[in-house]
């Protein structure tokens, strides 16, 4: 654990950019123009990237098992045995994530300069983008659950802000809200998982009843201040290191695995709840509905957040917490199953979409499914590898789509595109390269990562499914074919044939009307440079993780090994041999090529009449299937009818309660208050005023009485004087 103070710079640099643009951006943009906004906004994430590279250099110089950089800023929550501090830790896994986030993030910032050129809210966009970078970096760099959750929520917030960037249009705002709400459902599960973990790590269970360990309470309190070797360490803390250490003690681990909550295994429950968080954030099967609607945001947002970084937070979380997930085969199986089902499900929806961004959105969901297959079967490193390569080619695809959209004057319907291969050559070429990568053509980055996922799935011995991983592999292979098919479909529909646009193209994104008769042209240099860079990485990025089968060094796997070694003993494989692996690899290549050829045959140059005929077909079953798949299996409508309606009914019930019960109680006090006020008034009038007036009248009456003494008659005075004198004499006689 080496102290590396510069780690704090990695998230702080984009935070500075966000604050600068947020507070001063509009003024700077008005006075100095757009460079005043985007130069800091690009330079600061570039600084983060530079520091990441510096950290990498430093880590390489350390021995393999100790590559941990640490930066502790301050003690954030010193509560009892809790030791959540504001601290950043960089281990090999985090380094990979940081590298992906900062590099792809900086490139996308650069791309946005060209894409958002005409946007008046330019400064706001860059402020939000930088804020997102900050949140994502806090998520991956945080050294404890709480800080990770802060970043988790932060990326959710930035996702909402950015999806609803053009908030003046109702549907964008609604999409942003949908993303936030669905994310929140996941976050709830995540929080519960963390709380259960923290709670379950303390205490002692017997006969299913929870009893805090007698020495745990005092130990937690005492050793928070002065750790003594004789007293055992605190039983529960929130840093990842701490949890990992505790779970690597065999005795504790055994006890932990056997803890049960209401008869359910604690580990399984924790794992499931944490995975619910991942389901929300990474758009897996029940909670994926926000991602297609999130395409309402600007394309760079889709590229950065919904392809490369935010949605991969779930995968990162599972990989980071491998020491918890690996303890429960049930959870692992669950993750793998959800992942593969999502992969296939989303891939089928992608068949019939004609909005290019929606195709890419479903593709993202599908690829995330693949990543979860990987971490579900215990191949955490492979999942991260696919995360990295996916970031490259998916970002390239999204940015290429953005380039196309701008070129076609904000037209997103592929049926109105076509022939752009001649008009936008760079975009076409990079898009094609990225399609090859995602389909898994040999030697592209996608090939290495996806192939390894499928191999590990096939070879998984840890799943509690009949047949082990073979079922997973089968569905995964199906998903791969579908992926290849629909991606090339989108390529051919967009870039081949003749340009079908030219009708009044409504600018959906910014509301301005463009000249419909101007043909699309290539995008500016700032955008195409980024596309070229990402396409290059899509090609060569895979060489970091070459398969062992080819007897070539797998750098990424070596790099990540120390992070996952603790659980290596728990993950078993089914023991299939190398020949099976070769066969599977050949099969993957064949499947990818099949998908490509099928798409090419159906959609090249729009020559093939089959798609048109299918659309125009009268057959009910054709229409039925098409409608079902095109309408996303009516999942959104189902959620509307059930969950949303239920929440709205609850709202009405609570509103009724508020109006009648609560307001009724309040109104009950009304007569009481009125009565008190009346009483008060009467008291004030009669008693108080009476006292005051009475005093006055007493005095005036007394004065009136005393007046009588002043007769003005001297004789009376004399009399009184004499009488007084006599009385005085008498009195002095009596008293003295």
């Amino acid at each position: 654990m080496v102290d590396f103070w510069a780690l704090a710079l990695i998230p702080l640099a984009p935070l500075l950019g966000a604050v600068y643009n947020g507070l001063l951006g509009s003024r700077m943009q008005a006075r100095f123009g757009k460079p005043a906004v985007h130069v800091p906004a690009i330079v600061l994430p570039a600084i983060s990237f530079a520091v990441t590279v510096a950290a990498f250099v430093k880590m390489v110089s350390l021995p393999a098992g100790e590559r941990n950089l640490f930066c502790h800023l301050w003690n954030w929550l010193p509560v009892g045995g809790l030791d959540a501090g504001l601290a950043f830790i960089m281990d090999p896994l985090t380094l990979v994530m940081c590298f992906v986030v900062t590099f792809v993030g900086t490139l996308i910032h650069l791309y946005s300069v060209g894409y958002m050129r005409e946007e008046p809210g330019y400064w706001r966009f860059f402020s939000y983008l930088n804020l997102f970078m900050f949140s994502m970096l806090v998520l991956v760099l945080g050294d404890n659950f709480v800080l990770m959750f802060v970043g988790w929520e932060g990326v959710g917030l930035c996702s909402y802000l950015l999806i609803g960037f053009w908030y003046k249009e109702h549907k964008n705002a609604v999409a942003g809200m949908k993303a936030f709400v669905v994310n929140r459902i996941g976050d709830f599960g995540f929080m519960l998982g963390v709380l259960l973990l923290f709670w379950g790590m303390q205490g002692d269970w017997s006969q299913g009843r929870f009893r805090p360990q007698p020495q745990a309470a005092s130990a937690a309190g005492v050793s928070a201040q002065q750790p003594e070797p004789a007293v055992p360490a605190p039983t529960a803390g929130l840093t990842f290191r701490h949890v990992k250490e505790r779970l690597s003690e065999p005795a504790f681990r055994e006890a932990f695995i056997h803890k049960k909550v209401f008869g359910i295994s604690l580990v399984a429950l924790i794992g499931t709840l944490l995975f619910i968080g991942a389901m929300g954030k990474s758009a897996q099967l029940p909670l994926y509905v926000w991602l297609p609607d999130a395409m309402a945001g600007p394309t760079p947002v889709s590229a950065l957040i919904h392809a490369a970084t935010m949605v991969t937070a779930g995968v990162y979380m599972v990989a980071r917490l491998n020491f918890i997930f690996a303890l429960s085969p049930f959870v692992m199986t669950w993750i793998a199953v959800i992942g593969v089902l999502t992969a296939v499900f989303a891939a089928t929806i992608g068949f019939f979409q004609h909005d290019i961004k929606k195709v890419l959105a479903y593709s993202t969901i599908s690829q995330l499914g693949f990543m979860f297959i990987a971490v579900g079967v215990g191949a955490y490193g492979v999942g991260i590898f696919h995360l990295m390569t996916h970031a490259f080619f998916k970002a390239c695809l999204f940015l290429g789509a953005g380039s196309v959209i701008v070129g076609c004057h904000h037209e997103q319907d592929m049926r109105k595109m076509g022939g752009l291969g001649k008009l936008m050559p760079v975009t076409a070429a990079t898009y094609f390269i990225a399609c090859c990568a995602i389909a898994g053509f040999p030697l592209t980055s996608g090939f290495f990562s996806k192939d390894e996922i499928l191999w590990k799935a096939f070879n998984a011995g840890n799943l509690i499914l009949p047949g082990g991983g073979i079922a997973v592999w089968l569905l995964g292979a199906l998903g791969a074919v579908c992926t290849s098919f629909y991606m090339f479909r989108s390529y051919y529909m967009t870039f081949s044939g003749e340009y079908r646009g030219g009708s009044r193209a409504h600018d959906r994104e910014t509301g301005a009307h463009a000249d419909p008769h101007q043909p699309p042209k290539e995008s500016p240099r700032s955008m195409t440079c980024v596309l070229i860079a990402l396409a290059a990485l899509s090609l060569v990025g895979g060489f970091a993780g070459l398969p062992r089968l080819w007897h070539l060094p797998n750098y990424l796997h070596q790099w990540l090994e120390p992070v996952f070694e603790g659980t290596a003993g728990l993950i078993r494989d089914a023991g299939h041999g190398a020949s099976v692996e070769w066969a599977l690899m050949a099969l993957s290549i064949a499947l990818a090529l099949t998908g490509w050829q099928l798409a090419r045959w159906l959609y090249l140059d729009n020559r093939n009449p089959i798609p048109q005929k299918l659309y125009a077909s009268r057959a009910a079953w054709v229409h039925g299937i098409h409608a079902l798949v095109y309408n996303k299996y009516y999942v959104d409508e189902f959620y509307n009818a059930t969950v949303v309606k239920a929440v709205m009914q609850a709202r009405l019930a609570l509103d009724w309660f508020d109006r009648t019960v609560v307001d009724g109680l309040v109104n009950v006090t009304r007569p009481i208050v009125l009565g008190l006020a009346w009483l008060h008034g009467k008291t004030d009038n009669r008693v108080v005023d009476g006292a005051v007036n009475g005093t006055a009248s007493i005095i005036s009456d007394a004065g009136g009485v005393l007046c009588l003494l002043q007769t003005g008659n001297i004789r009376t005075y004399l009399y009184l004087a004499m009488a007084g004198g006599i009385v005085l004499i008498l009195a002095s006689y009596v008293l003295f």
Binding site: Y719, G725, I726, I729, Y733
Partner: protein, 167 residues
Amino acid sequence: MTYAVMFYALCALILVSSATVALSANIIYSAFSLLFAFIGVGLIYAMLSADFLAITQLMLYVGGILVLILFAVMLTYQIEDSKRSNQSFSRWLALPMAAGLFALLTAAVLLAPWKPHAGEPPFGPMTAEIGNSLLGPYRLPFEVVSVLLVVGVIGAVVVARKEIRER
């Protein structure tokens, strides 16, 4: 013996005169009774060996003050109701009060434990002593009283003069 007779005779004189002063309806009668009362008091002084004081009493009171009172009476005398010019008013209230006061004072005098000097009090001329003390220990009151006399006379003149109105 003679002393006692004289005393009682003078007592009678004074008391009768005082009663006339108090109770007479005619103010001329009251004024002249006052004369006799003053004379009686002067003689009492003489009995008390205050020779200078007796003469002074006769001179000042009888020759001065009483004359002044008579002047005033004459000046303001209403002939019309001469008989009733000095009507007593609510005699029945004043008598009990005076009687009560007398009772009180007498009681006080008789019950107080006086310790007069033993033996016969000396009789002798006091003029020289009074003169000495007026210019000796009591010269301050003497001077002050002279100033007071001046002030009083001037004040009386101011009060009694006629208002002069500017026409």
